[in-house]
C-alpha cells in the first residue's frame, strides 16, 4: 500500500469517513472517503457536498471606514481629522479605497484575487445596540425575535440531521448564528478541555453508556444518547486533531482569533465532515469608543494575519478549492470621530468574502459620507444578499428564500 496512512487519516476515516468498526480497509483515497460520506449522508442531490463555509465575527462593531479607507473622499478626512488614516499610509486597492496600513495580509489576499469587499452592508431600521444588532445578524432576521440562527436554519433545510458535526462553533458558548432546530453544533473553545472528567475507571464506564443504538420510544433520549456518543468520539478526535496539527504557516501573534482559525484548519486537515464553521472574537473586542488608533490597528493586524494565514494553510493542505470565508461585524461606526479619538456605534459597514473561488473585486455601492442618516451611513447592500451569495453561489443551495425568510439577490461574487 502506497498511501501515506498517517494517524490523522486513520482517525478521519475510522471516525468520520466510513464509520467505526465496519471492517473496511483504511486505504481509501480522500475522494472516495468523501463520496462514502456523501452517500452515508443521503444527500446525493448536493451540488457541492465537499464545500465548506467559515464565518468570522468581529464582535463589537468594527470601524469599517478605517478598515476599507475611502482615501479618495475628502469628506472622510473632514469627518476624521484626528483618527483618519493618512492617505500616504493607506494600502491602496483603487483610486478611492485602500486598507488600513496594518492589514498587509488583506492587501495580499486582495491582490491575489482571493478577496471580495462588499460595500455598505446593513439593514433597514438599524439598531445601534450591540445586543440587538448582533442578534439580527445572527438570525438573519432584523427587527424580530427569531429564535434560530441563519446558519442553523441553513443546516436544518439542507443538511442531514443524522450526520454529526456539520456545524462547528469555536468559542466558549454557542453563537445564536448556529442555533439550529435539528442539528447539534459542536461547540468548544479549548480542545484540550473538551473532555470527560474523571478517573480512568469512571471514564471507561461513561464512554460505554447509551451504547445500544436501538431507538427507544423517547426521541429526546435518543437525541441525548446520540449526542453523548458524539461527544465521546468527537472530543477525542478534536483533541487529537488539534494536538497533532503542525503547520509552518505563521498565524501571527498568538491570540484567540488566530488560534481559532488554526483549530479549524486542523479539523479540515483531519477530515472532519463539517460544512459550516463559526469563529468569533470574544467580548466586543472591536468596540472602539476611545483612543481607537492603536487598539484598532492591532485588531486589524491580528485579523488580517490570521485570515491570510488560514487561507495559505488551507491551500497548503490541498483544500483551497473547498473552503470559503465570510467575515462580518454587527455594525460599523459613526462617520464622524468622537471627542475621545474614537468612534461611536454606527450602521453600514463592509463585509468580506475570501477564497480561491471568490472573484476578487469591490462589490456594491459605496455609501455616501455626506448624505447621512443622523450621522450614520445609509446602507446600500442588505447583508442578507451576502448570506444569499454564500448559500447559493458557494454552497450551491438555490433556494435561499426559505432560509433567509425573504428574497435576496446574490452578488455574482464566486467563480
Amino acid at each position: 500500500m502506497t498511501c501515506s496512512c498517517s494517524r490523522r487519516d486513520f482517525l478521519a476515516r475510522g471516525l468520520y469517513g466510513i464509520g467505526l468498526g465496519t471492517g473496511l480497509p483504511v486505504f481509501l483515497s480522500r475522494t472516495s472517503a468523501a463520496l462514502t460520506a456523501q452517500a452515508l449522508q443521503g444527500t446525493s442531490m448536493e451540488r457541492h457536498p465537499e464545500r465548506i463555509l467559515v464565518v468570522l465575527e468581529l464582535s463589537g462593531g468594527n470601524d469599517g471606514l478605517n478598515t476599507v479607507v475611502p482615501h479618495g473622499d475628502p469628506a472622510y478626512y473632514r469627518a476624521r481629522p484626528h483618527i483618519g488614516v493618512p492617505v500616504r499610509e493607506v494600502l491602496k486597492v483603487s483610486d478611492h479605497f485602500g486598507f488600513h496600513p496594518s492589514m498587509v495580509g488583506f492587501e495580499r489576499l486582495y491582490k491575489d484575487g482571493r478577496m471580495a469587499i462588499v460595500h455598505g452592508c446593513g439593514y433597514d431600521h438599524p439598531s445601534l445596540s450591540h445586543f440587538s444588532s448582533m442578534s439580527y445578524w445572527h438570525t438573519g432576521v432584523p427587527n424580530a425575535g427569531e429564535a434560530l440562527g441563519w446558519l442553523g436554519r441553513l443546516a436544518d433545510d439542507h443538511l442531514d440531521p443524522a450526520t454529526r458535526n456539520l456545524i462547528v462553533n469555536i468559542g466558549t458558548s454557542q453563537s445564536l448564528a448556529v442555533r439550529s432546530g435539528k442539528h447539534s453544533p459542536l461547540v468548544f473553545d479549548d480542545p484540550a478541555r473538551f473532555r470527560r472528567d474523571g478517573t480512568d475507571d469512571e471514564k471507561h464506564v461513561l464512554a460505554a453508556l447509551g451504547g445500544d443504538s436501538a431507538k427507544s420510544s423517547n426521541s429526546t433520549l435518543d437525541f441525548l444518547a446520540a449526542t453523548a456518543r458524539n461527544a465521546t468520539d468527537s472530543s477525542d478526535f478534536v483533541r487529537q486533531a488539534s494536538a497533532s496539527y503542525r503547520t509552518p504557516v505563521d498565524y501571527g501573534i498568538g491570540n484567540a482569533f488566530g488560534g481559532g482559525l488554526q483549530r479549524v484548519a486542523a479539523l479540515i486537515n483531519a477530515g472532519m465532515k463539517t460544512r459550516l464553521y463559526y469563529v468569533a472574537y470574544q467580548g466586543n473586542a472591536f468596540d472602539t469608543h476611545v483612543q481607537q488608533g492603536d487598539v484598532h490597528s492591532r485588531l486589524l493586524m491580528y485579523t488580517a494575519d490570521a485570515v491570510r494565514a488560514f487561507l495559505d494553510d488551507i491551500a497548503r493542505i490541498g483544500r483551497a478549492d473547498d473552503v470559503a470565508v465570510m467575515m462580518f461585524t454587527e455594525f460599523g461606526r459613526r462617520v464622524e470621530e468622537n471627542g475621545s479619538l474614537g468612534t461611536d456605534h454606527g450602521t453600514a459597514t463592509p463585509m468580506f468574502l475570501f477564497g480561491k473561488h471568490v472573484k476578487g473585486a469591490l462589490y456594491g455601492q459605496p455609501p455616501s459620507l455626506t448624505d447621512l442618516d443622523d450621522g450614520n451611513l445609509k446602507m446600500t447592500t442588505d447583508f442578507r444578499r451576502v448570506y444569499a451569495t454564500a448559500i447559493k453561489e458557494w454552497l450551491g443551495y438555490d433556494d435561499t428564500d426559505a432560509v433567509l425568510k425573504g428574497r435576496f439577490d446574490t452578488l455574482a461574487a464566486f467563480t
Partner: protein
C-alpha cells in the same frame, strides 16, 4: 432473597409501570380532561413535582402520591397559602453612592461629565495642573461597573438558594419562566437594583394575571432601559419596545401589522424611568390619535395593553409558551386554541391555566413524561434538592456552573430569552453537564478561586507592580509588545484606563459583601443507609429511582453495578463516584 429473584421482582415492577403508561399512550396525548384519582401514582406525582418545581426527594414524592391529583396540584399551585416568610431577602451591599445616579452609559460620557462639571459619579476631578486630573472619575466609573457585576452575581446566588430552599417551588419556577419570557439582561441594564426589583415584580404576579405582569414589565425600569425606551420620544418614536411587546410578550409574529408596531411605539413615547422610579415624561409623550389593532383614539400604553388582551392571539401565544415551559416543546393546534381560549376567558389568570395543565391527561401522557431537557438552572438546583441539600453550595460557584452551560440568571442571551429544549445540548455542554457534578461531589475548596473576588491577570499585575514601587505609567505597561501603545495612551490622556480598572476592582472588592463559600453538605452513606440499600445492585437501583426519570437500560445498569462491585457500600467516596456516573448518564438530562 437471592440476587436474581430480587432483580426479577424489580423487572416486574418496572414492566407494570411501563405497561400502564403505554396503555395511556394513544388516548391521553392532547387530552386536556383531568386524570382520574385511580390513575394517580408515585410516578406521576414525581413527574408533577419535577415540572411544577425542581423535583423532590422520595419522601416528598410519596407524600404527593398519597393525595388525590386535585389535592396534589392545588398544594403546589395555591402556594400563596404557604407561609414562606423564612425565605431570606436579598441583602444589598450598598454600592451606589450619592452622585452615581444616573450612571453614565460609557467611560467616555463619565469623562465628559468630569471635564464639564469638575465632578462626576460623586467624586471631584483633581485640581488643574495635577497629573491625571480625571483619574478619580474614571476609577469610580470602573468601580461602578465591577461592583454592579458582583452584586448581580450575588443576586444570582441569592435567587438560586431561594429556588433550593423555598416552600413554594412553583413560585420560583414561574418567576424563572417570566424572567425568560420578559427577558432582561444586566449586561445591558448594568444595575442590580433594577434587576432585583424586576425579579420581585415577576414573583409577585407570577401566578396572577397577565395584565398585572404586562403593566409591571412595561413600567419596569430594567425593561425600560433594556429596550431603550428612554429614547422613545415623540419626535423619534423607537419601535423596540412596541415591537417586543407584540412579538415576544403577547401576540407572536404575524398577528399584527408594522403599522400596529409604530402606533404602539407612539403610545409608549415618554414612558421612561428616573433611575429606579417609573415616570411618564409628558413633554415626550405623543398625545395624538393612534389606530392600533382597529381601535382609534389618543391611546396610551395602558390602552395598548388592554387592546392586546382583547385579542385571541394573546391567549394562545402566552398559553402556548407556558405549555412549552411546563409540558413539552411541541403543542398541537387544538391544545393551543383550547388553552388560549381558557386563558383569555379566565381574564388571563395564570393559576387556573396551570391547574388545568397539571391535571390534564396530556400532561401525564408518554409524550410529556421524561421528554423535557432540564435547563442548566433546573439541572443544578434539582440535583441539589434530590441529594437533600438545605443550603446552596457555592464551591463550585453556581453562576459559573450554569453559565458554562448557557444560562446565567439575570443575563439571558437576548430579548428572546433562552431558546431552551435541545438548544441547551451540545457535545461539549453534555460532557460539562456531567463534569460539573464531579466538581460538586469532590469539591476542591483549597484551590477554589471565587469569581466575585477574581481580578483578571492584566490588572492583578498592575497591583503587583505598584506594590513593587513602580509609578502608574510603569506599572500599567503590558509586556514588550504593547509597551509603545500603552506609553502613548498614558502620555496623551488625563487618566490611565488600566490603572482605573485595577482601582475599580479593588474598590468593588472592598465594598461588596463576599459570597459565602461552602461545599455541598451531603452524606450519601446516610442516604443509602436510610434506604436500606446494602448491595451494589440495590444502591444502583436506589440512585436510578431517586435521580432518573426514565429506567436505565439493562446494559447501563449492569455497567454501574459492575463499577460498584468490590467497593465498600459504606464508602462515601465510592458512593460519590457512582453518583457522578449516574448523573452523567444521558438519561439524567431528562425531566
Amino acid at each position: 432473597m437471592s440476587r436474581s429473584s430480587r432483580r426479577f421482582l424489580c423487572c416486574l415492577a418496572a414492566a407494570a409501570g411501563l405497561g400502564a403508561a403505554a396503555a395511556a399512550a394513544p388516548t391521553w396525548t392532547d387530552d386536556l380532561s383531568p386524570i382520574a384519582a385511580a390513575d394517580w401514582n408515585a410516578e406521576r406525582a414525581a413527574h408533577l413535582v419535577e415540572r411544577a418545581g425542581f423535583g423532590g426527594t422520595p419522601e416528598e414524592i410519596q407524600h404527593l402520591a398519597l393525595l388525590t391529583p386535585q389535592q396534589a396540584v392545588d398544594s403546589l399551585v395555591d402556594y400563596q397559602k404557604i407561609d414562606n416568610s423564612a425565605a431570606p431577602a436579598f441583602e444589598a451591599s450598598g454600592v451606589w453612592d450619592a452622585g452615581m445616579d444616573p450612571f453614565p452609559p460609557s467611560r467616555a460620557e463619565a469623562v465628559r461629565l468630569g471635564r464639564e462639571h469638575g465632578e462626576a459619579l460623586g467624586v471631584k476631578v483633581l485640581p488643574d495642573g495635577s497629573p491625571r486630573r480625571l483619574q478619580p472619575v474614571v476609577d469610580k466609573f470602573f468601580y461602578g461597573l465591577r461592583a454592579n457585576s458582583i452584586e448581580t452575581q450575588r443576586l444570582g446566588v441569592w435567587w438560586a438558594n431561594r429556588m433550593l430552599t423555598t416552600k413554594r417551588p412553583l413560585e420560583e419556577k414561574l418567576t424563572l419562566f417570566w424572567h425568560g419570557h420578559f427577558a432582561t439582561g444586566d449586561a445591558k441594564v448594568r444595575d442590580a437594583r433594577m434587576m432585583l426589583r424586576q425579579n420581585e415584580m415577576l414573583r409577585r404576579h407570577a401566578e396572577g394575571r397577565l395584565r398585572d405582569l404586562l403593566v409591571g414589565i412595561l413600567e419596569d425600569p430594567a425593561m425600560l432601559v433594556y429596550l431603550d425606551n428612554g429614547e422613545n420620544v415623540k419626535k423619534h418614536p423607537n419601535e423596540n419596545f412596541g415591537r417586543e411587546l407584540l412579538e415576544l410578550f403577547t401576540m407572536g409574529v404575524g398577528r399584527y401589522t408594522e403599522r400596529d408596531v409604530r402606533e404602539a411605539a407612539r403610545a409608549f413615547t415618554g414612558w421612561t424611568n428616573d433611575v429606579l422610579q417609573f415616570k411618564v415624561d409628558k413633554e415626550q409623550h405623543d398625545f395624538g390619535d393612534k389606530t392600533f389593532l382597529g381601535r382609534t383614539g389618543p391611546l396610551d400604553g395602558t390602552d395598548i395593553i388592554d387592546t392586546i388582551l382583547n385579542q385571541d392571539a394573546t391567549g394562545e401565544f402566552v398559553a402556548a409558551k407556558i405549555y412549552k415551559y411546563f409540558v413539552r416543546d411541541e403543542i398541537s393546534p387544538a391544545v393551543k386554541a383550547e388553552l388560549g381560549r381558557g386563558f383569555k376567558t379566565s381574564r388571563y389568570e395564570v393559576r387556573s391555566t396551570l391547574k388545568r395543565i397539571f391535571l390534564s391527561k396530556d400532561f401525564y401522557s408518554p409524550a410529556s413524561m421524561a421528554t423535557q431537557i432540564k435547563s442548566p438552572v433546573v439541572l443544578v438546583i434539582s440535583t441539589y434538592k434530590k441529594v437533600g441539600l438545605r443550603e446552596l453550595p457555592t464551591v463550585p460557584d453556581f453562576g459559573r456552573l450554569t453559565g458554562g452551560l448557557g444560562q446565567t440568571l439575570f443575563d439571558p442571551p437576548n430579548v428572546a430569552g433562552w431558546a431552551g429544549g435541545r438548544t441547551w445540548i451540545t457535545p461539549a455542554t453534555l460532557l460539562q453537564r456531567g463534569n460539573l457534578f464531579r466538581d460538586v461531589l469532590f469539591a476542591d475548596a483549597k484551590n477554589f478561586r471565587a469569581p466575585d473576588r477574581l481580578m483578571p491577570g492584566t490588572y492583578a499585575r498592575v497591583g503587583e507592580n505598584i506594590a513593587k514601587g513602580m509609578n502608574i505609567t510603569e506599572a500599567t505597561k503590558e509586556g514588550t509588545g504593547d509597551a509603545e501603545s500603552n506609553a502613548q495612551v498614558d502620555r496623551d490622556e488625563d487618566y490611565n484606563t488600566r490603572y482605573a480598572s485595577y482601582r475599580g476592582y479593588l474598590m468593588a472588592f472592598e465594598r461588596t459583601k463576599p459570597i459565602p463559600r461552602r461545599v455541598a453538605d451531603l452524606s450519601l452513606t446516610s442516604m443509602i443507609a436510610a434506604a436500606h440499600a446494602n448491595t451494589a445492585e440495590a444502591i444502583v437501583d436506589h440512585f436510578a429511582k431517586r435521580f432518573l426519570s426514565v429506567p436505565l437500560s439493562a446494559k447501563d445498569r449492569a455497567a454501574f453495578v459492575e463499577f460498584m462491585r468490590g467497593k465498600s457500600v459504606t464508602s462515601e467516596p465510592a458512593l460519590r463516584e457512582l453518583l457522578y456516573l449516574v448523573l452523567s448518564a444521558p438519561e439524567y438530562q431528562l425531566s
